[in-house]
């Protein structure tokens, strides 16, 4: 048993002693798992999840189908659509194929196909594992995002990051172990922007200290971090000394260890007042690094700046960083808006990979890039070669993984000629969850929490598998 495990043990006993709702059952079931988890060599320590909320089009970005060129405005064969559910927007309408207007190139030594909209990521191709066979059940944003982030379409379950926080604990005790960064704007415009919900990074039934801490673009990055105007660190220190002395006295008189927890959490709050501003202060970053992330890095709340912040968080030991970039819901004028969206994410996410690699952190850090589902090969709205839209498509969609013990320069899974159905190596969202946990040294079958009479798991009740074929 190593030190981490002992820390973990101490932490759990402390949680129990402090009455945080971790029953003895949970305690009993979790300890061996951590032992197992720790005994197994984990490939990664951190995750950066780049969540493209709204669902980017795999047809226009990753899933190369050159033969569709001849199919413009041809009806999608019924043998392909095969009774698939559609949304309220396209129900009862003709399904006419619209090929992508964008060129695809072979990239890197591996020669994997990627759209011309991703020139920077093309240069990272040999580090990417492109998965073309993601699939999900949900066809509407809200349940699909909830499913992707928590393993269930219905609210109330725990999110990916909170599971890891619960199962593995913190590395840096002066920072939250699960941080969420939402882009504040999108070059693709506001027309295709869907809502987010705090449940996407919530802790559900897990104790709430495991929920994601959403950093704010304006004001305090962590809510209520700054002292009020007129209170400096010196006054705050004196106030905490007084409160601490009284709390300690009350602890001695009453005997409730919860008071000791209060004291230590107040001290951690005080340390965070220094560690969080240090984290978000970019003045120590070199010009070269700033430039690599592209011009948008100068703007607060940009995806580019959030990528750079994510790297700084990983450096400081944050376990799980989740970026949300909205604006991918391209039901119409897809080409124009997709150009804007890829402008936002292409260069920064490529820079993030490069930057982590340069610092020797990429091997410890698993990066995932995905949306909640894909988009239909058939068009929606105006149907021109250079102006079209696409509807929601859950049966197949693409994303990529990099670092963290994942093979680079490969693409995994195949779809049919219409990028409509998975024909080889399907990857369900729960398989991605299982793989992610596996890379962090956690068996998805064993990371459980009893709630509402069930042993809850991130991967849910249906069988999930680790996608061993993509592991390095």
């Amino acid at each position: 048993m190593n030190q981490t495990f002992l820390d973990e043990l101490a932490r759990r006993q402390f949680l129990k002693a402090s009455g945080m709702g971790l029953g003895a059952t949970a305690l009993g079931s979790l300890l061996p798992q951590n032992a197992v988890a720790q005994a197994k060599i984990s490939k990664a320590k951190h995750v950066i999840f780049l969540f493209m909320a709204g669902a980017p089009s795999q047809v226009d970005l990753f899933d190369h189908k050159p033969d569709l060129e001849n199919q413009f405005k041809q009806p999608l064969p019924e043998s392909i659509s095969n009774g698939q559910r559609v949304t309220a927007m396209t129900r009862g309408k003709e399904q006419l194929v619209v090929p992508t207007m964008f060129k695809f190139n072979r990239s890197g030594e591996s020669g994997i196909w990627m759209s011309e909209l991703l020139p920077h990521l093309q240069k990272q191709a040999d580090r990417l594992c492109i998965v073309k066979s993601f699939n999900t059940n949900a066809i509407n944003h809200d349940p699909a995002k909830t499913y992707f982030c928590t393993g269930s379409e219905l609210p109330g379950k725990a999110s990916m990051g909170s599971w890891l926080s619960y199962g593995l604990g913190a590395i840096n005790k002066d920072l939250p172990d699960f941080i969420v960064l939402n882009s504040a704007f999108w070059t693709g415009g506001t027309r295709n922007v869907q809502g987010l919900y705090s449940r996407l990074w919530g802790s559900g039934f897990l104790p709430s200290q495991h929920q994601g801490v959403k950093f704010q673009t304006n004001g305090d990055p962590v809510l209520f971090l700054s002292n009020p105007q007129g209170v400096n660190a010196q006054v705050r220190r004196r106030m905490l000394d007084a409160a601490g002395a009284l709390n300690q006295k009350h602890l001695d008189e009453i005997g409730d260890q919860e008071i000791a927890t209060t004291i230590s959490q107040q001290e951690m709050a005080f340390r965070m007042q220094a560690s969080v501003p240090e984290l978000t202060d970019l003045s120590s970053e070199s010009q070269d690094v700033m430039d690599a992330y592209g011009p948008e890095v100068q703007k607060n709340g940009s995806f580019a700046r959030n990528c750079l912040l994510a790297r700084r968080m990983i450096e400081r030991g944050v376990r799980f960083v989740q970026l949300f970039h909205r604006g991918w819901d391209h039901h119409s004028i897809l080409p124009k808006q997709l150009r804007g969206q890829t402008y936002d994410v292409d260069q920064p996410s490529a820079a993030l990979i490069e930057d982590l690699a340069a610092r020797g952190l990429l091997e410890d850090t698993l990066i995932v890039f995905a949306g909640e589902f894909g988009r239909t090969v058939y068009g929606q709205g105006k149907l021109a070669r250079d102006d079209y839209g696409r509807d929601h498509h859950p049966r197949c969609f693409s994303g990529w993984l990099a670092g963290g013990g994942i093979k680079g320069g490969i693409s995994y899974g195949e779809t049919d000629d219409f990028s409509y159905n998975v024909v080889k190596n399907p990857v369900a969202v729960r398989d991605l969850h299982a793989t992610l946990l596996h890379q962090l040294g956690v068996d998805h079958q064993k990371l459980i929490f009893p709630f509402q009479g069930l042993d809850q798991k991130l991967t849910g009740v249906e069988p999930a598998r680790v996608i061993s074929e993509i592991l390095a």
């Binding site: 002693a17 009455g19 945080m20 003895a24 059952t25 009993g28 079931s29 559910r85 949304t87 129900r91 219905l154 609210p155 939250p176 939402n182 504040a184 922007v193 809502g195 987010l196 919900y197 705090s198 449940r199 919530g202 104790p207 709430s208 200290q209 704010q216 673009t217 304006n218 004001g219 962590v222 809510l223 209520f224 971090l225 700054s226 002292n227 009020p228 007129g230 209170v231 705050r236 004196r238 106030m239 000394d241 007084a242 009284l246 006295k249 009350h250 009453i254 409730d256 260890q257 919860e258 209060t262 004291i263 959490q265 709050a269 965070m272 007042q273 079958q445 064993k446 509402q452 009479g453």
Partner: protein, 811 residues
């Protein structure tokens, strides 16, 4: 005794009768956890045709064992085997193996003849006898006999009664969610009568804040919120329902009516407004706006959400598990679920919210709803309609005149034509003016509509919508049609009305005396509010996977008494807070907290952190800032900028948070606007749920983000400043004691006083030498007649006291 302490690790205390194994307490939970998944109620997943949750087919014993004969019991062979192919649960099930002590419990049970018991929570409530105790003098009412009996069995002595200051603070916070004032404390300390405590109980139970505080728990349970929760997460207004809940507690509405009004209020003959408003319970679920999901899917989701809420709130069962398959642990089949579904799928309304145009959207209403205008509004509305009628008459009359003029125009001479022309121009001008007035009135009418409160209600469609099994929960994969009905393992549904069974039958069934769950579930939750943990800890689940009750007989005693009292909530509360068990002191020393962290034995007074709302309300109340108005629409106290914008759809209504102004921002937290996609952080950081699903109990964590909130949040600081200024009216030597008592209910002892004096001196000298900082800290205070360094220093002292553990804790 040792044996049992080992066996039931989740309930490490002895139960009556040394070494006697109880099936329900000791055996069933383990079977449920390790075996029921494959050998339980769900037919589909059942392995080897073996079922362990009920007696075997001849009804004499459990399958796979031989009573009195361990050696011949297959069960024991399987659970204790070391062979991978033999051992149960099998390794691939990823279930915990049986420990040696667990196997020993099973062996003892079989040796004792393997007596079986039906699952406790599904058997009728029977009032148990009050147990004998060695020390009856300690007991002040029946509750105490049950509690003391268990303490005696565990050889633990109860704590003595808490001091009066602690007691009054505990009682006030528990019953009204507000701390006692210094005057109330003084009166209570001086009251030497025997009935001083009971009088305080009665006084607090009859305060209107009692209803507000109780309603808050209920609103978590039924996921009350101010937005729809899905997709656009638009505004909606169900505030009359909240007001009704508050009023129901305050007016002492019996709990059975409380249940019946909510489930079936609309079905009472000549239903009252209150009954209709209460039926809004059925409208509290999340609901999507039109245009993305298919309406049939939305309908299914709404109904499933509604039925799941009935399960959690009234039955304490996780019926939602049976949406996709038979329940794994409780005998609820998928068919049972869809039979319940059939009661609730007939709402006479769209399954999705309407478009953005019109007043309904702005008012946050989705038909059907009833309007609740005040007398004044009613009068105003009538006036407008009369004026409109009058205007219309005038408009018609002018139009007719103009028509006559047109007809008269032919064959007239020039003079006459000019006159006609003049008359026409005059008439047209007047017409325009009248029409403008009419437009203006219409606008006034719309503006008035926006102000009139309205309550969304339940209403049945004329034609009953059929219900079907949904295969694996899929709305588009329907199985056989089902009829309205209740689960077979519970008492049968009795019809109170003619025609097909309806929600009124269901509501009546839920509160029938033979119904085993409703009273137990309610009593357990009320107990949880007062003791921090329910008698059944899993208050959302009294089923097989729920925890065994710490005091099963006490729960049944209280439940049967609750029914016999006519479901009287106030008298149940009174009974609980009058007990000696409730009044014990909580400062029991580190050993006691270590031995029993959650106080499951009730060997001391419970001590736990207050809920978010109570902490905030306490600050507002103590500082004198609180606006005590009751009822009305939700309000928006300030929150950090940009939170809604960072998650909301740009076209969401409203998409940006705008704080209210004036004293609305100081209303009690039960009225705080709740956006499900991004609830107020002051609440969620302190464990308030998102109100997206039903929550029967909140967890209590202790985190650095909470520390930051209480140190720095705007209203916490505002309250600190306000209270500091108030304290400057008190002479300086008494000021610290004044503040300490106002905030904690206690008086500082010498060492506390020394700490606080020294801190205050520091703050004073600091702000004297940093006047700019003092001015910044005092920001929003106008016309302060005190020196700014003084205001600043005492503000920091209050800030210190607000951050004491004892301030955020009920002890």
């Amino acid at each position: 005794m040792l044996l049992l302490a080992v066996s039931s690790s989740w309930m490490p205390f002895a139960e009556g009768g040394e070494g006697k194994v109880s099936f329900n307490r000791d055996i069933r939970p383990i079977l449920s956890d390790r075996c029921f998944h494959c050998h339980g109620p769900d037919e589909e997943d059942r392995k080897a045709d073996l079922r362990l949750d009920v007696l075997d087919s001849d009804g004499s014993t459990l399958a796979a064992l031989s009573p009195g004969n361990v050696a011949e019991s297959e069960l024991i062979r399987r659970i204790s085997s070391k062979e991978i192919d033999v051992v149960m649960p099998p390794p691939e099930a990823h279930k915990k193996a049986f420990s040696e002590s667990e196997i020993e419990v099973f062996e003892n049970w079989i040796e004792q003849g393997a007596p079986y018991e039906k699952f406790w929570a599904f058997t009728p409530v029977v009032r148990p006898a009050i147990p004998d105790v060695e020390n009856p003098e300690w007991c002040s009412n029946a509750i105490d006999y049950f509690v003391l009996r268990k303490l005696e069995e565990n050889q633990v002595a109860p704590q003595e009664v808490a001091d009066r200051r602690t007691l009054l603070r505990r009682l006030s916070l528990d019953l009204t969610g507000l701390p006692p004032t210094r005057e109330e404390i003084g009166d209570f300390l001086e009251d030497e009568s025997d009935s001083a405590y009971e009088d305080a109980v009665d006084r607090l139970l009859n305060k209107p804040q009692f209803g507000e505080h109780q309603a808050r728990y209920w609103l978590d349970l039924v996921r009350f919120a101010d937005t729809n929760g899905i997709h656009h997460d638009h505004y909606r207004d169900l505030s009359p329902y909240r007001q009704w809940v508050i009023q129901a507690f305050n007016e002492g509405l019996p709990y059975d009516d409380f249940v019946r009004f909510q489930i079936a209020g609309d079905l009472f003959p000549d239903a009252t407004d209150d009954q209709l408003i209460a039926s809004g319970f059925n409208r509290l679920h999340m609901i999507i706006d039109r245009g993305t999901m298919l309406p049939e899917e939305s309908l299914a989701r709404n109904v499933i959400d509604r039925v799941t809420a009935v399960g959690t709130a009234f039955m304490g069962l996780t019926v939602g598990c049976a949406v996709c398959h038979d329940h794994k642990y409780d005998p609820i089949t998928s068919k049972d679920f869809y039979q319940l579904y059939a009661f609730f799928n007939n709402l006479d309304a769209s399954a999705e919210t309407g478009g953005r145009s019109g007043n309904d959207f702005k008012r946050g209403l989705q038909p059907p709803y009833i309007e609740l205008p005040s007398a004044e509004q009613e009068k105003f509305r009538l006036e407008i309609s009369e004026r409109r009628a009058e205007l219309n008459r005038q408009i018609e009359s002018i139009k007719n005149t103009l028509k006559t003029l047109d007809a008269a125009e032919a064959g007239t001479n020039e003079d006459q034509a000019r006159e006609t022309q003049l008359a026409r121009e005059e008439g047209e001008a007047e017409l325009k003016q009248l029409e403008d007035q009419s437009k203006q009135l219409r606008a006034e009418n719309d503006a008035l509509d926006l102000l009139i409160p309205a309550a969304m209600v339940m209403r049945e469609r004329q034609e009953k919508r059929p219900a079907y099994l949904m295969i694996r929960g899929a709305y588009d994969n329907l199985g056989a049609q089902v009829q309205r009905g209740t689960p077979a393992f519970l008492p049968s549904l009795k019809r109170v009305s003619d025609g097909p069974a309806d929600r009124m039958d269901l509501a009546t069934w839920l509160v029938a005396p033979e119904q085993p769950l409703t009273a137990r579930v309610a009593v357990n939750r009320f107990w949880q509010q007062l003791f921090g943990v329910g008698i059944v800890r899993t208050s959302e689940d009294l089923g097989a996977q729920g925890e065994w009750p710490s005091h099963p007989d006490l729960l049944d005693y209280l439940a049967s008494g609750f029914i016999d009292s006519g479901w009287n909530v106030r008298s149940l509360f009174k009974q609980m807070v009058m007990s000696k068990a409730y009044r014990q002191r909580s400062d029991a020393g580190p050993e006691a907290f270590k031995r029993d962290p959650d106080n499951r034995l009730i060997a001391r007074g419970s001590r736990y952190r207050l809920d978010a709302e109570v902490i905030r309300d306490q600050f507002l109340y103590a500082s004198g800032l609180m606006n005590a108005e009751i009822g009305g629409k939700s309000v928006k106290p300030p929150q950090p900028l940009g939170l809604w914008k960072s998650v909301a759809l740009p076209s969401s209504y409203p998409n940006q948070f705008v704080a209210d102004e004036g004293d609305k921002v100081y209303r009690r937290s039960v009225y705080t606007f709740w956006k499900r996609g991004m609830p107020p952080p002051q609440m969620t950081i302190l464990n308030a749920p998102t109100r997206e699903d039903c929550t029967a109990r909140r967890e209590r964590t202790n985190t650095p983000l909470q520390a930051l909130l209480l140190m720095n949040e705007t209203q916490c600081m505002e309250a600190a400043r306000q209270l500091a200024i108030k304290s400057l009216e008190v002479e300086k030597e008494k000021r610290i004691a004044f503040l300490y008592e106002t905030i904690t209910g206690r008086v500082p002892d010498e060492s506390e006083m020394n700490q606080l004096v020294s801190a205050t001196e520091y703050f004073e000298s600091f702000y004297r030498s940093n006047p700019d900082l003092a001015i910044q800290l005092n920001q929003n205070v106008a016309n302060v007649s005190h020196e700014s360094h003084e205001v600043a220093a005492w503000t920091m002292l209050v800030n210190t006291l607000f951050n004491l553990d004892i301030t955020k804790t009920r002890s």
